[in-house]
Symmetry: C2
Subunit: 303 residues, 2 copies
């Protein structure tokens, strides 16, 4: 099997391809493409009739969807699941930083203790979109004795959650919002999840609760969020993703006393590449052995 890594070359990923037993080649000769760097719109440059499989480098692939890259006749695999631990770690970091007001501490130039410190111990954590990241987060939260409430597409009970609702169960989602001290958004960006956290959802949240978005900016109505924070309606928001993204320079959320902006950094390049290399090696090995690939994209669902 001939595999191309591109549009940007990446030595660790190329090494993973070779380690799995495949051969590196220019894009035009390759039956498989391991996407790295560049922009989804560049897909046309790398596409050719012999292309059978594309391994995308992201867990959320909506930018390839909207670039029209997911053409018929090619199997696309996302990196879903690959970064779950890394992103869950960042999520817990944002929860603790928010709970303990570390963003205000970081901004201070004098010794003054911020108000409003809370604890994750014994709290209720609602996970909207409890997939791989949610499961990894539940593991990290185990020692804190939290009560987990979950929403996912199937409604299939999530291990470690006290309750799981289907994402189309409006009453269930409302209950999660009303009871959670931390609302963690980790659902894929689809038409159904756009602006899931709008003014109405924010109004249902507990006073003092924190919203943590590690999914995509489109899931949260930014204007409604700023209004809720300005009104001190909720404890705060920690956003790894925003809408628009990047957030424009000087946007009020950057220095908002109730906000932490993490610039799409939950899965930094220094941790992403080694994790992706492991997935590439596994999927190339599976492809060569005729085994099912991990992370095959469901075109109908859009992720």
């Amino acid at each position: 099997m001939k595999v191309h890594v591109g549009p940007v070359a990446q030595p660790e990923l190329e090494a993973a391809v070779v380690a799995a037993g495949a051969e590196l080649s220019p894009a035009a000769d390759a039956s498989a493409l391991v996407w790295f760097g560049g922009a989804p719109a560049q897909f046309a440059e790398l596409d050719h009739p012999g292309l059978e499989w594309v391994q995308l480098p992201a867990a959320g692939i909506e930018s390839w969807v909207s670039a029209g890259a997911l053409r018929d006749g090619v199997t696309f695999t996302s990196a879903a699941g690959t970064y779950a631990q890394t992103v869950a770690e960042h999520t817990l970091g944002l929860m603790l930083a928010g709970a303990r007001q570390m963003h205000r501490m970081a901004r201070a130039s004098s010794w003054s203790r911020p108000e409003g410190m809370v604890s994750v111990f014994g709290s209720t954590v609602g996970i909207v979109g409890a997939g791989g990241i949610g499961r990894a987060l539940i593991e990290l939260l185990r020692p804190f004795g939290v009560r987990v409430l979950a929403v996912n597409r199937s409604g299939r009970p999530v291990d470690g959650a006290a309750a799981t609702w289907r994402s189309d169960d409006a009453a269930g989602v409302r209950e999660l919002l009303a009871e959670s001290d931390f609302v963690v958004v980790a659902a894929p960006a689809t038409a159904e999840t756009a602006q899931l956290i709008d003014a109405g959802a924010l109004a249902r949240m507990k006073p003092g609760a924190w919203l943590v978005n590690v999914a995509r900016g489109s899931l949260v109505d930014t204007e409604a969020l700023v209004a809720a924070l300005d009104a001190e309606r909720i404890g705060g928001a920690a956003l790894d993703v925003t809408d628009p993204e990047p957030l424009p320079d000087g946007h009020p959320l950057f220095q908002h006393p109730r906000a932490i902006i993490s610039p799409h950094a939950a899965n930094p390049m220094s941790l992403l590449v080694p994790a992706l290399a492991r997935r590439v090696e596994e999927n190339v090995r599976r492809r060569l052995a005729g085994e099912p690939l991990l992370g095959v994209v469901d075109r109908a669902a859009g992720y």
Copy 2:
């Protein structure tokens, strides 16, 4: 038994005294004093010949020691152990905030990803002074698959640590410093631990490692630390305690790209009072039942 809560009245602590079966009284009539608020130097105002037991509100009691409050004929109990979970939570928050550069994110007004992000997963965490806080931290770190190295006074193996050295084992302490990605200082402030983390200790730390001090400022040589951070010798420092404390306004550590200053906030009042009330109720109950008190101060050791 007559108990006084002071020098500052605190309703939750008074309720705990009553719940345990004792009687509230003015200081002059009380055989027991539950210390809350004020300054250790005020001890003389509350002391009288009938005083038998003083419950202090802190885990680190060196300010009462230096104020000369620990007079003979009175049993003193500290709150050691009471705040371990709260402080361990803050410690993990500081570790994650440092590892993921959240302090730099919090200070930013534009969308730019900081360099130098690392993970706690699979790292080595050295705990200098592994008592109650250390044990609670080890519990929180379990899901991260870290290797824990510990130093304590006795050298008795700490549960969950790969190695435990006695605090007077210089070679062991050096090994901990050299191998840890995170060095957590949680030892009591005594003559032996003063400036434990000096220029020499900092020089032995791994490049990129983070120092987290949740003990007392006196354990770290501030000038040496600033020099090590300026020289980018270590990854960073997250300090809940400082020397001097409070850190003067505008001190370079406040906005240092490699430092997070948490203004003695690991155990905020909102979480401290309920935890202390539980300890007060338990110790009053024990005193009435003639059982051994929790947290009896060892005058020779100074904690």
